[in-house]
């Protein structure tokens, strides 16, 4: 996994905070999701669609805006009319960010739950699968 880490990570904090996690998500989508052609193609039909990322251990929601497959921004809170809901622990996201694991592995292990329209959910699962390698 080391070969994917050709950039500076955010320093690990003592305790997770909402702002730190927003930064982690922002960087993750910028560095891992957006440059991955297959991932972007999998959800390219999504035009300005909000995805909610819920983190029960932080008791926080984040909105990830996706336009034509590309993540355009991450904000704290819920945007109206969300299309996809992803539930995971902040701790899980932290491990994914620091390349200790991948989102596909965590999805298979059941530590990430994805809810949404059946077709769109399938697209999301396909998009995540490309984040394995």
């Amino acid at each position: 996994m080391a070969q994917t880490a050709a950039y500076e990570y955010l320093p690990k904090p003592q305790a997770l905070s909402a702002e730190y996690m927003r930064e982690v998500l922002d960087q993750y989508y910028l560095r891992k999701w957006n440059p991955n052609k297959e991932t972007v193609i999998s959800v390219r039909s999504w035009k300005d669609w909000p995805m909610i990322v819920r983190m029960p251990d932080l008791q926080k929601d984040f909105t990830v805006m996706i336009h034509e497959g590309v993540v355009t921004g991450v904000t704290e809170g819920q945007a109206p009319q969300p299309r996809i809901l992803t539930i995971m622990l902040g701790e899980t996201m932290q491990r994914i960010y620091y390349d200790e694991t991948t989102s596909a592995i965590e999805l298979i292990a059941g530590r990430i739950k994805v809810r949404g329209n059946e077709t769109e959910r399938r697209r999301m699962l396909a998009a995540i699968s490309y984040l394995t390698w």
């Binding site: 009319q81 995971m88 701790e91 059941g110 699968s129």
Partner: protein, 466 residues
Amino acid sequence: MPSESSLDDFDNSGDDIQLVNEKALNWFDVSCIGTGEMLFTAGFAWIVYIASLYGIKWTIVGFCGGAVVIHCAWWLYREMITAVPEPGSIQSYAREAGMFSIGTSYFVGYAPVYGAFMWLELQVAQGLFHSLFPMVANWLWPYIIILPVVALNLMGNQVTGKVQTILVVLTLLGDGFAAIFCWIYFANHHYFAMNWGSPSPVNWMTPFTVTGFWIGIMAGILEVQQILVDEWSDFPKSRDIGLLSAAWQLWGRQIPLIAAVLCALPLATLSVMAVPTVELVRARVGVGPLFDLVLVSMLIATYTTFSVFFMAEGRVLALYSQQGALPRVVGQYSSKAVPWVAILLLAAFALIGAYFTNTAFVISMLSNWSASLYFVIALLFLGMRRRKTLDRPLKVKFGVPVAVFVLIFTAVIAYSIFVSDWQAGVAWYAAVAAFVIYDAVIVPRTKRGGHYRAQVLRQRTSAVRL
């Protein structure tokens, strides 16, 4: 840390969030997915095969034994999925029970097992179409049947949960009408009495053997729905009613019609028919509205089973590739979010059935799978029950006695099926052993497989089980 009041307001399950156009699966959809997966046209030929060996009386006894096993399995699944509500289903239960590779072999192994069911499906469909259109070369039929379904799946036009519900209701109606007609016009006491006794010698193993054959077409009815657990809209209702009613729906569709068929002609005549329901109607009243009805029901069933095979099992193969156990290319998804390489592999596997026509061997091997499946499920339940560190321990009433009963009952069934065709038994258990060795010894030693294994077996750290 958040205050106590904000903890109460925050819904960890996310049920408070309304998603646009979600259409989550209700309990009836969950029920229909199970039935849709099991709408084997070959199922009718399978039951006639059982009856041709043991007669109607023992076929009924075997059905009752199979129904008992399915109800017990539901009771165990119900508790396991409550403790570990994950789409990994059997693999996840096995992880918690400390038997990861055994669970994986039965979870991923369902892809080739389902493929072998499709071999039977292909053979009966091929036989039927050849009798309807004898001018078309027989070797063409498997391709004519499979290729359009493969093409539809590759285009992303898969049978989804909601479409499945509609198709299942259509076949339920079709088979219901067909059953009423067959009872009124074809069934009679003469053939019932003639077919009642067993043509083969009967001994103490007979009820177990017949139960094993029955479980062959019952196993799978409770499993696929659990893979879709994240899409259930009402967990308790889907688990308590949706899961079990799938079995009752299947039986409601199969039993009245096949009972009428078994009382309509001698077993020797029925057993040479590719699709007894359709061919019985044609033999008795010729081509007409009733024939069209049963033919359409059969075509929907064939399409549904093949489509679910490609959609569900394609994802299982892709998943196993993501676990580092198969080449990366098998996990390749297309821009339509379809695991296209896995689907093509499955199509090639299904087409083998057109050339491997030893039906009795396939049925025996599949019966070995189904009998041992519930033995493994009982084992996983007991393994999970022993775990003291589960966030939500297994505590259902009668869980252990039911699991022990299933363990013993299915062990005897597995033994009786094994001795009925030891070569098929050896072939099955050798395949399982090879799979377990591959998964337990070889996969963890690969770079991707080792990394996956280390992460997936990591201890859960939170009470919300994420």
